[in-house]
Amino acid sequence: MVSTALPGMRRIEHVMGMPIVIDLRDDDAAEDLLDRAFDEFRAVDERFSTYKQTSEITRLNRGELALADAHADVREILSRCEDLRRETRGYFDARAAGTPGLDPSGLVKGWSVERVSNLLAELEARNYAINAGGDVIVRGRGLPDDCWRVGIQHPAMDDKVAAVVVAGDLAIATSGAYARGDHIIDPHTGGPPAGVLSVTITGPSLATADAYATAAFAMGTAGPAWTARLRGYEAMTILADGRVLKTPRFPSS
């Protein structure tokens, strides 16, 4: 692989406890574009981190900040968490993330990537991919003559992909049990979901796709039927017995 053949610039930084990769494929981008993009991720982290004592979420949970006085972004996120909790019948729940109080991190991650993607577009970037700990937004093309190709991590083999999504403008989120052990629990049983290795959701919004993937994964083997009813979002579920269930327009090659 001749690395110099790729147009644009790439950078990885660790923010919010995860690696964030921005892969910009425009040759004419402004010098400080990636600086500004990562500054935005850090600003979101300052406001939303459950680990930072000064964040608005921490202060809300300690009762030091009233919801009405919180930043408009915080109120928007918490309101979307509540909508998604209802839509997913409680399988996506910012209040059940293992800590007392609110933990909207599951939505904040995708939302922050959307926000940075919009920032890049405002700054006239056209072809780029952002990958925040496995949640991905792609825009434009990977190369002038090639679409973006996004590998979906194989849940059983670290160095393999289970499918390849070919896309122009798309958000892709995957939930599974393999990366950090059983970190998703079924909020209705308190235990890890059974029978499912991973769920990938594609669609226009990364925050929504991520919440749907979390919820569908937590539903276990009932997840695929639920994903078949989603409007505007497509799903691929890999079951523990090796079956792969896809909605009809899931964009894999």
């Binding site: 991919a129 990958n131 990977g142 992909v161």
Partner: protein, 143 residues
């Protein structure tokens, strides 16, 4: 889901439906061995299946014909099954396609030799990143 699948496959077995050719690929091999791979889509007729409403199933069959001299062997394999899950609230049928993981791995392996730039996976933390496929790709396309 499983019960539904059983019902639906029975429908296919009963009706030998008209076939529509999707693709035919000829792969020439050495020593007069000829392999022809063709894919066909079969659509079963509408069947009534209790509360699922009208049920119609589509299967994709891959036929591999190997000819070595005068010896001809034919292998058929169901590549994918498309079954309705249930009609949604607007009455529109909602479908799920089923495939087996090993076949996908093959496809993915072929695709891997082309360009994969980004990997979507269950949340990897900074600690886990070093072992991830994304890290390997990031390194490979390194700046």
């Amino acid at each position: 889901m499983r019960r539904n699948l059983t019902v639906v496959l029975a429908v296919v077995a009963l009706t030998v439906p008209s076939a529509e050719a999707m693709a035919a690929v000829t792969v020439p091999k050495a020593a007069a061995k000829k392999i022809v791979v063709s894919m066909k889509t079969f659509t079963g007729s509408l069947g009534r299946a209790d509360r699922w409403g009208d049920v119609q199933v589509t299967i994709v069959v891959k036929k591999t014909t190997t000819t070595t001299g005068t010896k001809k062997t034919v292998k058929r394999h169901i590549e994918s099954i498309k079954v309705p899950v249930y009609p949604d609230h607007t009455g529109r049928s909602v479908f799920i396609s089923e495939q087996a993981l090993p076949r996908l791995i093959q496809e993915a392996l072929q695709a891997q030799s082309t360009h994969i730039y980004i990997v979507s996976g269950a949340t990897y933390t900074s600690d886990a990143f070093g072992q991830s496929l994304q890290a390997a790709i990031t390194k490979e396309k390194a700046w």
